[in-house]
């Protein structure tokens, strides 16, 4: 076929396809506000998965525990990774109030952040143990166990008395030493280094 003949064929082919093409474009559906996909979640499903605990205590379950009860569970389930008193490791150090003045973590890389010197909310201790601990068997602790562990760790960090009972009412009221140290991000692009 000559080049001219090819060109003619191409033109004919194009003319034949063009109107069809236009019809297809005009037929594209307008996206709906909703696609109607997925299915309604049942209250049971939501209850089974909703483990969130808020700083105001929303989500905390029934149950309670004290430092004495928590100490026994800590020995069995936690000490292997966090040390006999929550200080020795090898994994995260949980206990320690120093430095008590000035929150100098930005100035000194050697400081270890613990529950006592760094965590701003007491409820986070419950929330995190419930989600993720112990590392080798998360989800295996009952609410009374967790309240006991939280009480033990807060007592070891000199935040509550060894006689205090932690439950859904008392835990959110525990004010953490580092509560007011956190500030919102003030970086927003542009030439300034923040």
């Amino acid at each position: 076929m000559t080049r001219l003949a090819l060109f003619k064929h191409a033109l004919i082919a194009l003319a034949a396809v063009a109107p069809l093409h236009v019809r297809q474009v005009s037929g594209r559906p307008v996206p709906p506000a909703r696609y109607g996909l997925g299915r309604p979640a049942t209250p049971q499903e939501i209850r089974a998965w909703d483990v969130s605990i808020m700083p105001d205590g929303t989500g905390l379950p029934a149950g309670s525990g004290t430092a004495v009860q928590g100490a026994a569970i800590f020995r069995q389930r936690c000490a292997r990774c966090h040390g006999a008193t929550g200080v020795e490791g090898p994994f995260d150090r949980l206990v320690g109030r120093a430095p008590t003045q000035g929150f100098p973590f930005g100035r000194d890389a050697s400081l270890v952040r613990t529950i006592g010197n760094y965590w701003p909310y007491s409820t986070t201790v419950y929330d995190y143990i419930d989600r993720a601990m112990p590392y080798d068997a998360p989800g295996s602790l009952k609410p009374n166990d967790i309240y006991g562990l939280v009480a033990f760790l807060l007592w070891r960090n000199e935040i509550i008395a060894d006689t205090a009972t932690m439950d859904a009412r008392t835990l959110p009221r525990v004010r953490m030493p580092a509560r007011d140290r956190f500030v919102r991000d003030n970086r927003h692009g542009g030439p300034e280094v923040r």
Binding site: M54, G106, A109, T124, D127, R184
Partner: protein, 414 residues
């Protein structure tokens, strides 16, 4: 390129068996009168015998052995070999990893994403439902906010780009826009945050402002043309372009809308940035602009003086890279590098600068500028703003020292 430039003469018929046997091929050469006794012991070149068959699953050339470096007390991190990569995409099997309780095995048939809280219609989506929504595909980097700490303190000269900054990777991510799912469930106007929670053994969870959900967040199920890798959140993960890696919650199983943040461990105890003034920055989501030279860099060695191509990667969590400057004299003078297309927002961008090395000591640096006008700071600038003890977001200028023998080492103090 063939190492056997002359093919057998047409009139010589070689059987298949001749072709696969090295000695027979050598006889063939002798028949052709090439008298190649020296070549007789060598196997035939790739142009002298048919190669291997097609395969159901490809593999790298045996000479190419890029590897992640695995670390951490629980083997919870691995670093991308930045110095082995070209272009901007990270091969999925080399994407960096950071896990908070290992890589879960999730049956895609049993997978569910629950969206509830401050919504009109609490809804469960299975994987097929997610994939029935209109899909979007975008190229974005992911970077762990702890990336580059060893460039901030404890610098060692024998660190590669992978060792220093390997917790960053770029993929093409495919999924459904979170804004689409938000319309589907009817998020309340008063909802300001949502919790993103993974289905791993840590139920890893982060609070995210709703605006990010409406902006460019997606639930991704595809990576570089295929399903997500297990270590990247299979079968579905949250993707928050430009934000610190851990907020891109993998194996996502639950999203809860609320009118305040949840204050999980990974947004209070971890991933907050202590500052020199006795405070700590919380919810420091965006990864600021950064660049790294990936060649020449340790352990590469320049064999000769003369022309070399300085190459590297630059990215910003706030948009596109506007430019990268390169210095070969420790920051005294800078030259604009070329940016390789495509230059995409919140995505690795490849830069390069031809450089004629004079064989003497040289200190190479790169400095990225993003479209907001943010300029990658020096180490001194970042230390002044953040303090020597801060954690995360170490995006300052890096340096590589080229020594007169051609060896390249990391850091300002060669």
């Amino acid at each position: 390129m063939s190492d056997q430039p002359h093919r057998p003469h047409d009139s010589v018929t070689l059987t298949r068996r001749d072709l696969v046997a090295g000695t027979a091929a050598a006889i063939g050469l002798a028949v052709l009168g090439r008298g190649a006794l020296a070549q007789a012991a060598a196997p035939p070149g790739p142009s002298r015998a048919p190669g291997g068959p097609a395969t159901p699953l490809g593999a790298r050339a045996p000479h190419e052995r890029p590897r992640r470096v695995v670390g951490g007390m629980n083997r919870e991190i691995s670093l991308t070999p930045l110095q082995d990569l070209r272009g901007i995409v990270t091969p999925s099997d080399l994407h960096y990893e950071r896990h908070h309780a290992g890589v879960p095995v999730i049956d895609p048939g049993a997978y569910k994403l629950l969206i509830h809280g401050m919504v009109d219609r609490p809804t469960v989506f299975d994987l097929q439902a997610l994939q029935r929504f209109p899909a979007v595909s975008r190229f974005h980097f992911l970077e762990c906010s702890g990336n580059g700490e060893s460039a901030y303190r404890g610098m060692r000269p024998d660190q590669s780009p992978q060792d220093v900054d390997g917790l960053t990777s770029t993929s093409e991510w495919t999924g459904v826009a979170l804004s689409t799912l938000m319309r589907e469930v009817g998020v309340h106007p008063r909802a300001t945050w949502f919790l993103a929670e993974g289905g791993d053994a840590a139920l890893m969870a982060r609070s995210i402002p709703v605006e990010k959900g409406r902006d460019d967040a997606m639930i991704a199920y595809g990576q570089n043309g295929e399903a997500l890798r297990p270590e990247q959140g299979y079968p579905a993960r949250l993707l928050l372009p430009g934000w610190e890696g851990n907020t891109n919650v993998k194996w996502i199983r639950r999203i809860e809308f609320a009118d305040r943040p949840f204050m999980t461990r990974d947004e209070t105890s971890k991933y907050t940035d202590p500052l020199p003034n006795g405070t700590a920055r919380i919810f420091s989501f965006v990864m600021d602009a950064k660049s790294v030279i990936t060649f020449p860099a340790y352990p590469a060695k320049l064999t000769d003086a003369g022309w070399w191509d300085i190459i590297g990667l630059a990215w910003s969590g706030r948009g596109r890279i506007a430019g990268v400057d390169v210095s070969t004299d420790g920051g005294r003078t800078w030259s604009p590098a070329a940016l390789e297309q495509p230059v995409l927002p919140k995505c690795h961008t490849r830069f390069s600068l031809p450089w004629k090395w004079n064989g003497r000591d040289a200190l190479l640096m790169s400095r990225a500028t993003d479209e907001t006008g943010y300029i990658q700071p020096t180490l001194a600038q970042l230390r002044a703003a953040r303090g020597s003890g801060t954690r995360y977001h170490f995006n300052h200028i890096r340096a590589w020292r080229v020594q007169p023998d051609g060896a390249v080492v990391f850091g300002l103090e060669g």
